[in-house]
Symmetry: C2
Subunit: 511 residues, 2 copies
């Protein structure tokens, strides 16, 4: 299709001069209105005002400009349909072959959060025109984003002022992506004020942050998207982050954000924790986290919910991590860490809270759920054994239970004070999780220690056997949701063995 | 806002009579066009044609009807803005207070896949009008779906012909959800023809299939959505499916669909397999799958990639499952199974292949990757040990490696013939996964069996220790991707111990 007439209506006017110079060279008639018209004239190009073209004044402070039959007939007419051609000529309408538009910056405006401005920045004319042009891609070319200008210029030069069907179809797809994305942003903005998150229809949107080298494995392509515009984790140094790095960083941050501020270290491998510790002495917190399972920690990612000092940085000369995440880095520490060219250094100071919804996409279905962000304290828990925990032991139980919910189910977590010393994850039987956690503890810990070992379970114990295994291995206090038909037997066993037993009431499966 | 004038343009005309009767009672002036106009007149209600209202003929076979300044000024004018009021009156325009529209059935049309019809079913007029009304929700009410009629009728009755701002705002949100959803469907349809899945912007959509009792845990709300219109798994009998049921069913189906047709049984617990077996004798396939870990299997979900017969149905009297999934059920088998009122019986005959993209949503980021659906055969694999596998053993290795990729990393899978006999899942160290798999095998299997045990690993062994542990426990052949700096040492160890070693080249992490 040779392009003879174009309509241009753009909020973002950058690089518009490049496209204007090409269109003028090709003798394309340009129609425009409002700010775009002024810009085009200021740049010295010929242009007809939409109001002159339609013979109909722009009204309501520009709320209605291009919404006119002459515009839409020009865009929507089929060039190979005789009656369409006849109707156009009868009405003195003309074909419009190219629509260039981009929309009012709704996404940027919602950040300001001024209600009146927000409404004004819902574009009606732009998306309507873009959608019409995109529908008629057999004949019409639509440019819906300034980043397409170069492609249009090349296409027009290559084809002497024409565009190919393939090119128009691709731009049509991109146009519907723009309009769909735009309305997804708007509806998600309004959804914030709605009680019901699980509406009859649901849309999610994302903007490409970066293409990743690959997904979980080299034969899977992968990418990361922002689902809103706010600042994300910030990489300071090191190799490019991989899909698995991102995945592990998110796992680490979820735990870190749940720990008391300025105290915690979390080590992640294959999206599960292999070390978590809270200590006032930050270096100790790090050392204890590593000690939980130094073998797994090797090559893992470590995340701190505090600022890194020189002492901690020096520890990175002793053990290899792929990624370090922290709330900030003291100058000296950064100097030390940056020497490791491969170490990915990430600042997480401005991260958003975890998104409210988990998405699992399979077989053309999407399972959606609220994220498990429940915060709990002692108040939620009920001590059901005769023996009662000291404050110190209770704190340890809460700590263990909190970490437990971030471990793949079935999950058993063993802790001493506020450091994890054994983790049983991803098992299909709870008894196996107990055994895995105990084996890990025995492998790396000196269990003849004075402080008592506690255990947390993400869901109830169906039988006494799991508890029995834990107690036999030296566990002194256990926290679990309760809810089994064998709860009474389990309480009796706890009392018979002098074990402290706490019911947490809430379950924390994570798969 | 008192509603005086309404414009109605609906493709889906069901229940329109209810709304017409209410609007007529309230003396609302109705404007309409085309098929909607005819329908309204046929139902005996007063109505003005849009072309008379705008004094502008409908052209291009109805491609341009409502796209007119008089319509859009009526919808978009601010009722509290003096210059807007003046302009309207000067142009002899009038306020339109209510827009009722629903769109051409694009989603239904793409199933037919007739290119020309598809384009014709991209609605331009409807979404434009709905978006304009939704923008001006401070003054205008927008109905974008027939399922909102009742709410509008109640609202108008309650407020004597008026609507409240709260009501209009909610409908505005729902309108943008409709338009965003509509364009998401269109852009995803076009994206099928595009090579690049990871475009600059990305939208996903879903239609609510059902609200679930809760998510993974009772304190998390959950729901399941269809991301397209095609038939899904079909529940025949039993209790309502839970979030975790769905999640496990999807895990089971992924494995089932990867197995040779009509042969395989898969048992899932907590989204990981705890038994997989292929046997020509279907009953044996089931029994062997259970035998892998009868404790975990209890209360799990079992999935067959064949039709269930009476013999298999009778086995369900011996062991408790929450869900049975199969390609179909012989009549007699269904009679037996249906006696268990709680057992969820699911037919998976018409399920779609797994969706191409995994979504992981965290901290306002979305990690996207292609699903790991790579199919492999012997050709992909390289035998690196001196000792070569028999065909039978090679088949067993391929089977084990295939199952291994569906197990949470680090994953080690032990198989005998084509039945899994040990699984090490979700461990942060590969050596631990080896130990977990071996412990499971020892717990349930008589390992003094004549058929040889093989092992598969989802990623390379970093050191000799894992392989050593496996071989010491009786494993005769091992398949793993390779890629460690210790590969040579590992080959040497295999040769020294007469172990068969195969390099699969591809890694299959799954987190």
């Amino acid at each position: 299709m040779k392009i003879k007439t174009a309509i241009i209506s753009v909020f973002d006017k950058k690089n518009i001069n490049f496209i204007l110079s090409t269109l003028t060279e090709l003798n394309v008639k340009i129609i425009s209105s409002g700010g775009t018209y002024k810009k085009i004239r200021n740049l010295g190009y010929k242009c007809q005002e939409v109001s002159k073209f339609t013979n109909s004044k722009e009204i309501l402070n520009g709320r209605v400009k291009t919404l006119h039959p002459k515009i839409y007939s020009g865009i929507l007419s089929k060039r190979n349909n005789k009656s369409h051609i006849k109707e156009l000529s009868k009405n003195k309408f003309m074909e419009i072959d190219l629509v260039i538009s981009n929309f009012y910056p709704f996404e940027e405006t919602i950040k300001k959060n001024k209600q009146s401005e927000i409404i004004e920045n819902i574009d009606v004319g732009g998306p309507s025109m873009v959608r019409a042009a995109a529908k008629n891609y057999n004949f019409v070319t639509v440019i819906s984003n300034p980043n397409q200008y170069n492609r249009l210029i090349n296409e027009l030069k290559k084809n002497k002022g024409k565009t190919t069907l393939k090119f128009r179809k691709q731009l049509s797809f991109e146009a519907f992506l723009e309009t769909g994305y735009y309305d997804s942003v708007i509806s998600n903005y309004f959804n914030k004020f709605s009680k019901n998150q699980f509406t009859e229809k649901k849309i999610f949107h994302g903007k490409l942050l970066e293409n990743l080298r690959y997904g979980e494995n080299p034969h899977q392509k992968g990418a990361i998207y922002n689902s809103n515009n706010e600042t994300k984790i910030k990489q300071i140094s090191g190799k490019k982050l991989s899909y698995n790095n991102y995945n592990d960083i998110f796992s680490a941050l979820k735990i870190c954000e749940s720990l008391p501020k300025n105290l915690g270290t979390v080590i992640i491998k294959h999206s599960n924790p292999c070390g978590v510790s809270i200590e006032k002495n930050k270096l100790l917190s790090f050392k204890k986290a590593v000690l939980c399972d130094p073998i797994s920690a090797y090559g893992g990612i470590v995340s701190f919910n505090f600022k890194i000092n020189k002492k901690i940085a020096l520890e990175f000369n002793k053990i290899f991590f792929e990624v370090i995440v922290a709330k900030g880095f003291e100058k000296k520490s950064l100097k030390i860490l940056k020497k490791k060219k491969n170490l990915r250094i990430i600042e997480s100071r401005n991260i958003n809270k975890n998104s409210f919804v988990n998405i699992s996409h399979n077989f053309n279905s999407m399972l959606l759920q609220e994220a498990d962000t429940k915060v709990f304290s002692k108040k939620n828990f009920q001590i059901v054994s005769k023996k009662k925990p000291t404050k110190k032991l209770f704190d340890s139980l809460i700590f263990a239970f909190n970490v437990c919910r971030f471990v793949n189910s079935n999950a058993i977590v063993l802790a001493q004070n506020e450091s994890i010393i054994g983790i049983g994850s991803g098992q299909t039987s709870r008894l196996d999780s107990c055994e895995v956690a105990i084996n890990k503890m025995k492998k790396f810990q000196n269990i003849n220690i004075k402080d008592e070992v506690v255990a947390a379970s993400d869901a109830f114990f169906p039988f006494v056997d799991g508890i029995e295994t834990l107690v036999q291995s030296g566990v002194k206090a256990i926290i679990q949701p309760s809810g089994s038909i064998n709860d009474k037997k389990i309480i009796k066993f706890a009392n018979d063995t002098g074990t402290i037993l706490v019911f947490s009431k809430t379950r924390h499966f994570k798969h």
